[in-house]
Symmetry: D2
Subunit: 279 residues, 4 copies
């Protein structure tokens, strides 16, 4: 299980979510928690939008808790939209090209979960990626492949629809291969630089968690009383795989089978995979 956080709002230093809260993303990467039996120490990454339409990427194979560069960057930059990730590998190597976020043009993608039987399915999934997108795959994870399948299936025109067709295709491919396990576990975070998209879905009954802090007062609760006013002055939305604090009232759990489209407003939709037949 990986962990990730997405933010859209007034420009902040990412450190305010990655490092400073009680259960910050970096602290989550190593601190034992009830639902974490191994650390998220197989690399980390931060993608952010600041001066350009294309996001900047920092990715590193160092565990997040020991990565001096990650902390420097998260302290220095100011950004109104970012995605950050800490990885616990599920069989693919620890290398920079396997660290999230993945990028295509102005798009970023992070994922927590896995494709069951990935080694069996990998070749078939890879062949389904549009040849024009193939050269953008630099690593070997299921996550990067899911992103490029979603791109192949229309993510740029309709992000949620692209993800739904990707999920349907992965499930159909697993079924065709006769795999028994639930095919897909995912929470994904996606951005085009203007909005943050998030989906929580799994093919089976076990579904990785996703939480949203949608209300400015709630986000301010991340900070001590006397600092609250100084932070997140205009608007702030945070999506996380696990809460960054255990304060009641800050985090709302996103139901399984849900997609969120987040900017100043938050739109919530039911999410269902779309099978290739239906498409």
């Amino acid at each position: 299980m990986c962990r990730w956080v997405g933010y859209v709002g007034s420009p902040i230093a990412p450190r305010e979510l990655l490092h400073d809260p009680q259960c910050s993303l970096i602290e989550q990467s190593r601190r034992h928690a009830p639902n974490m039996d191994i650390p998220n120490g197989d690399g980390t990454g931060l993608g952010w939008y600041e001066h350009r339409a294309q996001p900047a990427l920092f990715r590193s194979i160092t565990p997040a808790w020991g990565d001096e560069n990650l902390l420097e960057l998260a302290t220095e930059i100011r950004t109104g939209l970012f995605l950050a990730h800490v990885r616990a590998g599920t069989g693919t190597p620890v290398q920079q090209t396997n660290c999230h976020p993945f990028r295509y043009r102005n798009w970023l993608f992070v994922h927590n979960g896995h494709v069951a039987g990935y080694q069996t399915l990998r070749r078939d999934l890879l062949l389904a990626v549009h040849p024009d997108l193939f050269g953008n795959i630099a690593g070997s994870t299921d996550s990067e492949l899911m992103f490029h399948l979603a791109l192949t299936f229309g993510l740029i025109d309709d992000p949620i629809a692209g993800i739904a067709r990707m999920a349907g295709f992965v499930e159909a491919t697993a079924a065709a291969a006769g795999l028994d396990e639930p095919a897909l576990q995912m929470t994904v975070g996606v951005s085009d630089g203007a909005r943050l998209y998030a989906v929580r879905y799994a093919s089976g009954p076990e579904v990785n968690t996703l939480f949203v802090a949608e209300d400015l007062q709630a986000v301010r609760m991340l900070y001590p009383d006397n600092e609250r006013e100084a932070h997140f002055s205009d608007f702030a939305r945070v999506v996380v795989s696990e809460p960054l604090t255990d304060l009641p009232g800050v985090w709302r759990e996103v139901p399984a089978g849900t997609a969120l489209i987040i900017d100043e407003h938050i739109e919530e939709r039911a999410f269902q995979p779309v099978s290739p037949m239906a498409a």
Copy 2:
């Protein structure tokens, strides 16, 4: 808290202790355990004696659980005496020169624990290292400094005495600086290529654990019934910071304030720091 394992006996592939047992050193480096709140993911190392009087070193900043080279080496080499270590940093950077084991000529040294107030004491401790040994210090840890202090105080002539004087000197330096905390926490493993030396000691009531498997039948219990005869055919002694299995009868806890001198025989002595006054 770091973890380490020392072995002396018939030549084996270190993998038999580092990777294969239920709670192998590599598994210990990431799997949550009751007495571990953060992983040992800040580097790893293996020092072994095979073809030469000088030990060979492999050290890496990659977490042990994801280090392909460590596993390759541990599978390929055959050695009758080795020390391996997984690190959880206590404030000094994650870099190869801070990974254990440390080496001087034919000597290896690993450590689990810390010097309290190290940042305050570091300069004074460093000044006490013999100038001829100073150039052998390549990193910035308390552990490497403890090794070079023990060398300065006679480790080569009498390893346990050298460690005792080092411990006494660290405690005296901490006292002189007015530090309140217990000065030293340590289990150390040392070898000259012929014997394995191990010490368990702390200045205060909290003492990191140390265990020894001293009996061939006991060591064989690390393996399933049908494989036992194939392993550790002649003699085998294992010292570990934490047991590699939870089997009863394999591991004997070494009492606090104890030194072991291990070859085919195991000599056990009371260990007490020797203050610089007494020396």
Copy 3:
């Protein structure tokens, strides 16, 4: 241009070829030379046969000249058959899975050269790899793909024939894609643990170099007068992409379009790609 060295003979420490000669492989990795405009600093690797039928692998993204672990290993191990490589990337990322040698069961593979237009051809080449071998591809280089194509085309039964069919397939794929440049530049080194195979070939007039030291007296010339008798006592064959010394009489250039099969004897054959039509 990468550099590599292969050795078969009496067991030696690889350091005798990787580090000690005047133009050792490690020195070649950084020292400017007339035919080298950029260093071979994009990772290194060593594969060797010692205790098992399967070779051991050490691979690292650190430049060879600064890799302490490489030098330690090359000093400590003793092996009668090894392949070592220093990489200058040609567009694919610097990551461990892109470092040579590549391994499949008891086989090792190193390559110096490139597939022209690789980004264009990669998808088609990847699809041609046998699905059972697909899961063994962990990186993204043309070299690893060439190895798996050669495996697909029968390398295990007949190494030179497998390489010839791979070369023919790459050339045919490039032609079908309408690429103009000569498709393939390669010197390759392959071993099954018993023999060393080497091929020098290019589709066009520019052909990377390959040299062999086939005579024991010649190999001893790598060492100063007074040390010669101590080294390479029984037999020793060395294949290199570039000479390790500039001594006359040691190195014989292998002609372009040649395959070598090396054990105590050296068999030399003309090498020609075999087109898929002919196969």
Copy 4:
């Protein structure tokens, strides 16, 4: 020999000096040049001032030419004052704490050169660092130690005087140790966030080079005709260890024994070490 570049002027993306010119700093790190016999592949770093009085640091052990994070950062950030460095180690390990720039509070420091006989002198030099500064030394290079000696000798109050006393102290220490070689080779770049200070000096006749582009029209010459107006619109000063282009009229060589104080004006002073006696 390392290479470095310092910039002060209107905010730019550091990429305009690190990556885009014909002989950019990154290109210099690997491309052979007449005065470079080994590459600058032992790590890289970038320190910049943007949102805070304290500079941000990115440092990496990856060669600059293959460091994706360096290029991303250099493309994304906008800064009016930065120092960047590519390292060729002179005996100390390749680790992040040995990469330049070094930082103390709002100060940055880069160095090209070396202290002759450093292993012999290191202990004495380290002892001369003010105990309050000692804890800020995280690595093992002569460069970092030179910075902390300059801080000890008053760099914060008067940067050039602090450097002069440091140089005098290093020379006196080398003389006291009976070393024959010229003690010090250095070009250094220093900044407090407001100005850029640069010094070119050596104890002997061989002096590493230093160049300055002080005139806006000159700096614009780094770019093709049609792009010139778009770059460096207000003011721009660049100091480099080696020219970034071979265009005549852009770079003026700074004479040996010179210090520069650079903001909108450039002040040039003779530089002489100040011996500890004189101080």
